[in-house]
Symmetry: C2
Subunit: 184 residues, 2 copies
DNA sequence: GGGATCTGATTGACACGTCATGCACCTTAA
DNA sequence: TTAAGGTGCATGACGTGTCAATCAGATCCC
């Protein structure tokens, strides 16, 4: 987790009003977060970091794989032949190309996937699910799904699930809007 | 991905009903996620991963620091003397002890913080904010806060902020409930 | 056909996180 | 007071993620 990072905060600025003396960088009027926004934001960050930490722990314990492994394996499983072009897989995962390349190399060492040359394109490479990889994902899935259900969906009302969906959609739309330079 | 990783998914199982033939591991009736739940979950994971990726990019561009650096610096700034015991800092960040130890070592190399011995406890260590560290956080904060405001809070209604808070609270409560073994 | 250029993918360097381990120092209780 | 156990922190090994560089194979176009 992130396998990720982030259990976080904001500098001391008083609610609403501009900071006392600290960030006097550019002569700009910084729109600080309100106390409530700070609280919500910190909680959000804590939730996401803790969730990924625990999903990783649980997957490691159950099946010896990481959440990243799980994601890759799921996408491959979703495919008829259990094989996908590297670029396409990266796009589906919203991963950077090189991240996937590194990750596939590691998974290959563990026998979870294999690489194949691509017939139509000499540069291309296919990532192929191995038997072992398939076994792993089938072993891991039930407990992982159960974890997500128990720790997330079982805790939320229908309305909250709707809200979460709307929130994620809004934020992603915003990110897509100004993050045109490389989509990551 | 980690801070983490995760743009993810679930195996192919049909909505609601148990899987066709795949995960027949333990003779358990797995409660798969509905199509809608899968969609929401994937979107949530994508939102969180993208947000952290972009927060990191933005902080790196603006001030040459990571989100993790930012978090550490903020907590130190929140303190009168700009110094905190390692364990206490780790608890406040909800970080593992060793993660903080490694991170402080890296930040120390860059001159953002320093280590000090602890007077009352021979084992203790204090992390101290340096002038350079204070300068960094003051330089980074306005743009970071603006980023969060523009990409998150400006996109949400009051009701959605409330919902996000309630969701995070519920999930964190659940995590705290069964994750008693080591709080991370 | 043969350069300029684009595209798919890998690689290396390096920051980051986790787990297990080690160890110094404190605390306790006999 | 001293051995046993606990606490605070650092470290090593290793998997992970990012960016920049590289490179081979495709494409374009004169």
């Amino acid at each position: 987790m992130s396998i990720r990072s982030r259990g976080d905060a904001f500098p001391t600025p008083p609610p609403e009003v501009p900071p006392p003396a600290a960030p006097a960088v550019a002569g700009a009027a910084v729109s600080w977060l309100t106390r409530r926004e700070q609280r919500v934001w910190r909680r959000y960050l804590l939730m996401t970091s803790q969730l990924t930490v625990w999903m990783n722990r649980q997957l490691a314990a159950e099946a010896g794989i990481s959440l990243a492994d799980y994601d890759v394996l799921v996408r491959l499983t979703d495919t008829p032949e259990g094989r996908l072009r590297v670029t396409k897989l990266a796009r589906e995962l919203s991963w950077e190309q090189s991240r996937l390349s590194h990750h596939v190399a590691r998974m290959q060492r563990r026998g979870l996937v294999a690489r194949e040359e691509c017939a139509d394109d000499g540069r291309g490479a296919l990532v192929v699910l191995t038997e072992r990889g398939r076994a792993m994902i089938e072993q891991a899935a039930p407990a992982h799904v159960a974890f997500v259900r128990e720790h997330v969906f079982d805790m939320l009302t229908e309305a909250q699930v709707d809200a979460l969906d709307a929130i994620a959609t809004s934020v992603l739309t915003r990110l897509a809007a100004d993050d045109h330079p490389s989509s990551a």
